[in-house]
Symmetry: C2
Subunit: 710 residues, 2 copies
Amino acid sequence: MLLSRCRGLGRVYGRPQPKSVMSSAIMAQTMTTQTLVSYHTTGNNLPPKESTLSKFNFPCSTHTISKVTKDLDSLMGQKVTLHGHLNRKPRLMSVNSFAELRDHSGQCTQLIMTPDSTPIKSFEELKKSIPEEAVSVTGTVKLKHPKPGQEHIKEWELLVEDYQVLNTSNSTASELDKLKHSNPESLPAHLRYLQLRTPFFQNALRKRSQASYIVRQVLIENHDFTEIETPLLFKSTPEGAREFLVPTRTRDKFYALPQSPQQYKQILMSSGFTRYFQLAKCFRDEDLRADRQPEFTQIDLEMSYINNSDQVGKVVEDVVNNLWRKVAKSPLYRPLGDDLVEEIEHEASSTSSLLLPKLPYKQALALYGIDKPDLRSTLKFVDLSEFFHSKKDPNYPIVEACVLRQALDKKKHKLPKFLNAAENYPGRKPIILPISSAGPDWHKNLVEAQVLFTQPTFDAEKLKTLLNLQPGDILAISTRSEMPYENPTPLGKFRQLAIQEWPTKWRRQVKDRTTGEISPPPQAADFFVGSWVVDFPLFNPVETDMVNGFPQYDFSKLESTHHPFTMVKSEDYEYLASDPLKAHGEHYDLVINGVEAGGGSRRVHDAELQKYILSELLEIENYRELFGHLLDALSLGCPPHAGLALGFDRLCTLLVGSTSIRDVIAFPKNQSGIDPMVESPTSVTSEVLDSYHIELKKLDSSIQDDFTKE
Amino acid sequence: MLLSRCRGLGRVYGRPQPKSVMSSAIMAQTMTTQTLVSYHTTGNNLPPKESTLSKFNFPCSTHTISKVTKDLDSLMGQKVTLHGHLNRKPRLMSVNSFAELRDHSGQCTQLIMTPDSTPIKSFEELKKSIPEEAVSVTGTVKLKHPKPGQEHIKEWELLVEDYQVLNTSNSTASELDKLKHSNPESLPAHLRYLQLRTPFFQNALRKRSQASYIVRQVLIENHDFTEIETPLLFKSTPEGAREFLVPTRTRDKFYALPQSPQQYKQILMSSGFTRYFQLAKCFRDEDLRADRQPEFTQIDLEMSYINNSDQVGKVVEDVVNNLWRKVAKSPLYRPLGDDLVEEIEHEASSTSSLLLPKLPYKQALALYGIDKPDLRSTLKFVDLSEFFHSKKDPNYPIVEACVLRQALDKKKHKLPKFLNAAENYPGRKPIILPISSAGPDWHKNLVEAQVLFTQPTFDAEKLKTLLNLQPGDILAISTRSEMPYENPTPLGKFRQLAIQEWPTKWRRQVKDRTTGEISPPPQAADFFVGSWVVDFPLFNPVETDMVNGFPQYDFSKLESTHHPFTMVKSEDYEYLASDPLKAHGEHYDLVINGVEAGGGSRRVHDAELQKYILSELLEIENYRELFGHLLDALSLGCPPHAGLALGFDRLCTLLVGSTSIRDVIAFPKNQSGIDPMVESPTSVTSEVLDSYHIELKKLDSSIQDDFTKE
C-alpha cells in the first residue's frame, strides 16, 4: 500500500481529544521524545513475545504436496518442508500419531509422528492442534503401506521431524470440520475464507485467473489488441434503479458507476485505437438473481474499420476456442441439422466463415421459444396454427406444441410438479398434458372447453402423424405472437424447465468431423454446444402491462432491443423511416448451453443517423445532455466500428462446470446485495453524509420503501 | 453488451406517456402489427440512404503504414489499402493533389492523386475533405523523390486509385489543426479523442497496455501467482472525506469504494491462496494534485508463508526489471557509494539478495530530507549541529545544510525565484544564501541576527573545510527533528526544487558493472535510479498544528505511518508495550527517481497482536465493527503473509518518460474531479435520490461547503 494514501489511519479512528488536554503547542515545548513513554498504555495486554514471534520465524517450504507426488521416486527418503493447513483433527495414538496436511492445491498428505523420528516438542505442538491451523512441517518422504488389494497404488506420507504451528485456529473450525468435508458450500457464508480453502473453490478461482490470462494472450498476441482502462466514476444518466450513484463533495454533483464501458469504448474508436479490449468492471443496481451480482466483469472489446461483423466474431471465437481447450479442457461443439453436433476446429482457421453457426432470432424463438436456446437438447417446437387458433388475445395468434418423448413416470403417468407449477412461468402457463394413450383424443376436451378452436384447415389424421404421440409422452401447447417480443415464450420456458428436470435426456448425437461417424449423446455435465444468434429486431415496443398472462405492448413507443448504438441492417435501412419495428439490427449474441455468453454489434458511427435514432425513434428529449459527448466524438471522423462484450463471470461459471456465478467470484454479494463476510453495506454517520451535502430522507410511512428487503 | 442488461434504454428516456392515450390493453386488442406504421414518425429526417450506408461499405485494409515501411522493397509498385485519418488539409493543385494519411500507429504517409491514376470520383471526394476525416485509401506504393542532399533516405508515398471517406469531420478539426501539430496536449480537454489520436498518446496508452501484460506474464509465468478480483462495492469505514460512498436502495445502507484491496487480500491469504495479485481499481476522495486522480490502478500482490520480506522484494524487482527492459527500453540503475550508479542485472538472479539497495528511513531523511529521494542526484545534506543550534522550536534541534555547487548565474549571482519562493515550502523555508565570496563570513550575520546560535564546539576553520564553499554556490540551512515526522523536511523540499530547477546537474556517474569503468553522468531524461526505503517508524504522533512553520504533534496519540496491519520488526517487539514510537515497521517502499513506485510490508497475522495494535495503541474504540471480519479471518489459521502494491499509473508515467499520470490515463479527471469530455459529475433528479432514500441537504449559508470549488 502506498505510503501517501494510507497515512492517517488511527488519526481518524482515535478517541476524540479531551478538551482539558493542554494545547499541543505547549505540550511539544515541555517534552522531548525521551519522555514519551509515560503517555502510552502500559502494554500489559501485549501478547507474549516468544510465542508471537515464533509464528513469524519458520523454514521456507521446499515443495508442495503435488510436487512431491510428481517427483515421488527421486524424493523417497528425502527431507522436505511443506506448508499448509491441518485438514482434520489429529489422531493421537499411544505410539505413533497421525495428522493430515492440506496445501494450497487442495491436495492432502498424511503426517506421521513416531517417537523415533519426532522430537517431543513437535508431539506437544500436535497435541494442542486443531483443524485449520496453519503449519510448517519438515520430515522425510516415505511410502505408505498400501491397503490390501491396492498394492499397485503408490501413496506417500511424511515422517515428521519438525512440526511448527504458524497460526492457531479456533473452535469454530472444529465445529465446522464435518461440514467442510461433506459440503464446503454449506459452510457459513460469513466464513467465506473457509469455503475458499476447499479444493473446489481453489480450483474455480485458479481457473478464472488462468482464463483471464488466456483472454489477454489471445487478444494481445494473436490479434494485436490494446488493453485500455476506462473510468469507473462515470456520468449519471437518469435511469433510476439501474445504476449506482456516487455523491461528490460538490453539492448536487454525482458520478455514476458504469453499466458497461460502451460509450467510452466507442469514443476510444474515435481516438484512433483500432483494437481495444478491457476486462471491465461493470455495475448494475438491480434486484439480484442466482446468476446476477451488483458488480461483474466483462471482456469488453471493440474494433474499428470493421466492414463485416464476422471480423469481430472470428476474434471472439478464437478467445472462446482457447478457453475451452485450455481451461475447460473439453471440446466446444456446434449444432448441425438432424439433431447432431460436431466439434469445432481446434486451430484458428484461415477461412472467412465463423466456426459456430448463426441462428436467426425469429427462428430461435419459433423452434426453442427463447433467444438463448440450449442446443445440447434436441427439443424443438411444432407449429399447430393450421390446426388450431386461440381466442384469448388476438396478438398471440400462433399455436405451437412441444413434445417430451417418454418423459412420464412409467407407472403413475403423472406430470412432474416442477414442470407443471404455474409460478415457474412468468406469464401464462402452457397447457401441459400427460399422454396415457396413443389416441387422437387429447384435443377434444380442449376444443369443447373453448380453450382451443379448430381451424377450417383442421385435419385430425395429419395432426396425429405430425405429433406422433405415444403413451408416456408429455405434450405442451401454447400461443405466441408473430414476432415474439415475449422472450422466453411460455413454451420456451417449458423447454428450459424440461431440460432442468431431465438434463441428459434428448441430447444431440455427436458426428465426428473427419470420419462422419455418429456416436451417442454425451451424458457428462461438460458437454458444450455454442451458436451465434443474429437478426434481432432493432427495436421492440414498450411492454405496458400483463393481462391474463399475456404481455401487452404500446406499439407507439419504441425501445432498443439491445442499445441505441446498434446499426440497422443495410437492407432494412428504409424501415427506420417507414416502420422501425420491422428493422433488424446488426447484433449478434454468443450462446453456449443456453447461457448468453456475450453480445455485440456493429455500431452507428454516423452522427446524423445516431441523432435520428435517439431523438426521432427513441424520442429521448434530452439526448444532447446525455449523449452529446458521444455524438461529438462520432462527428469528428470516428471510423466505422463494431464490438462485443463477453460476460466473464458467466464464461468462468461454464468453464468450471458450475451453474452459479458465485462459485467463480471470491467474495460475492448475497441475493440482498450484502457481503456477509465484511457485512457491507452499512450505515454511515450524518457527519459523513454532510460532507456530500446529502441527508437521509425522513421516513414516510405512506411510502413503500425497500427497508424490509433485508 | 449483454442483452439482458441493456434492454430498456429508450423506455426510460422516452417521453412520459400522455394521460389521454387509450389504455395499452385496449389498444393492443384493436391493432395488429400490420397497422403499426401510422404510429411512428414519418421519417423525414432520416439521413439519406446511399451516402450513409456508403460509410459502412468499404474494402478491408491490407497493411498499416509501418508495415509498408518495413516491407518497402517487396511492396514497391504493389497495390495496398490503408485506413486512417486525414492528417492535414489536402493540398489541391492544378494537376496533382496531395494529402497526408495518419494511421493508428501515429505514422503518416503522403497520398498523391494524379489525373492518370486517380478516378474523378476520388478527386471529388478529396476536394471536400477536411482534416481528421476517417478514410480508406487504395493505391500503389511508390518511391518518393528524395529531397536534395537526402538521396540516401528512402521514403514512399501512395499513388491513389481509390479514396473513400468513411466518416466526415467538422470545422472544429480544421480550427484545431495547427494546435494538434504543435502541441497535442493543448487541444481542448473535452476533445480528448483528438488528443488521443496523436502519436504521443497512442504510444503512451499502448505502452501502458504492454506494461500490464508484462506484469501478468512475470507474476503468472515466473512466480505462479493467481489473479483474483476483489469487490469494489466495499464496506464504508468512517474516514469521512477519504472514501467515496455508494448509496443503496435499502434505507441508510451504503457501500464504499475501496482505497485499496488491503483487507480482502489479507483475507485471501487466510483463504489458502499463497500468491495473489490483481491490477486493482482503487478510489480516493481527496483534493487532487498533478499526480493524483480520484480513481487509480495498483498492482496489488500478497504472498503467504513468507518469513522474510526480501521474498516479496525479489518478485517485485523481477516485475520492475522486466518493465524497464521491455517497455522503457532503458536500464534501471542502483545507487552505489561515491556518487555512482551501476546497472542492475538483466536476468533474474538466483542470489538471495535484492538487486536494489536498502536505504533506512532515518538515513534517507538525514541525507535527502524525504522518504522518496531522487537518487539520480548526488545532492546530500551536511549535519551542522556541532556548529550551530536554533532556538525557534526545541523539537527541531538539528541544523543541517545543503550546498548547490556552482548553481548561481555567473554574472548576477542572484537566487532563482522558484527555489526561493516561500509558497513552495509547506512549512518553514530554509535560509538560502548565494555565496559570492569564498570567505567564512556567511554565518556571521545569521548569528548576529539571532537566527543561529553557535555551539560551544563551534570551529570556524572546521566548518569552512566541511562546506568548502566557493563563489557561485548556493547554501541552504534548515532545522529538523531527531526522528523526522516532517517529510519532506524544509531542506528535503529545497533539494526537490533544486532538482526540478536543474534536472541534469549534480547527477551520479555510471560505473560499468563488469569493467568497473566510470563514465560521465547520463544527461537524458530516461535515466532511472531505484532503491528500497526501509526501517520506517511503525507509528507517528498525530500532527495537530503548524506554529511558525514548525509542525506540532500530540505525542500521546499515535497513527500508523502506513497502515495498522504492518508487522513490527522483531527486535522492536517490546517497544509496542514500552514506547511504540520507537518501534520500526517491517515496511518497504520502492522508490524510482524520487517517485514512490510502491510500498509493502509483512503483515500481522496474529489476531491477538492485531487486536492489541488496533485497540490499545491506535485506540480505535469500534475496532470490532470496522475490522472484525479481518480479525476473524486471522484467527482461523491465517498463514504468515506479506505483500506490496505498486502504483501502476505512476509506474507507467515513468515508463513513458512523462511527469503527469494524466498522460497514461485514457480519460482522466481534471483537478476539480471533472471529466471534461463526458461532463461528469452531474446533477440528478430528486426522484433518483428518492430511490436511495436520500435528499440534498438544504443550503445553509452559515456552513462553508465546497460548492465554489469548481
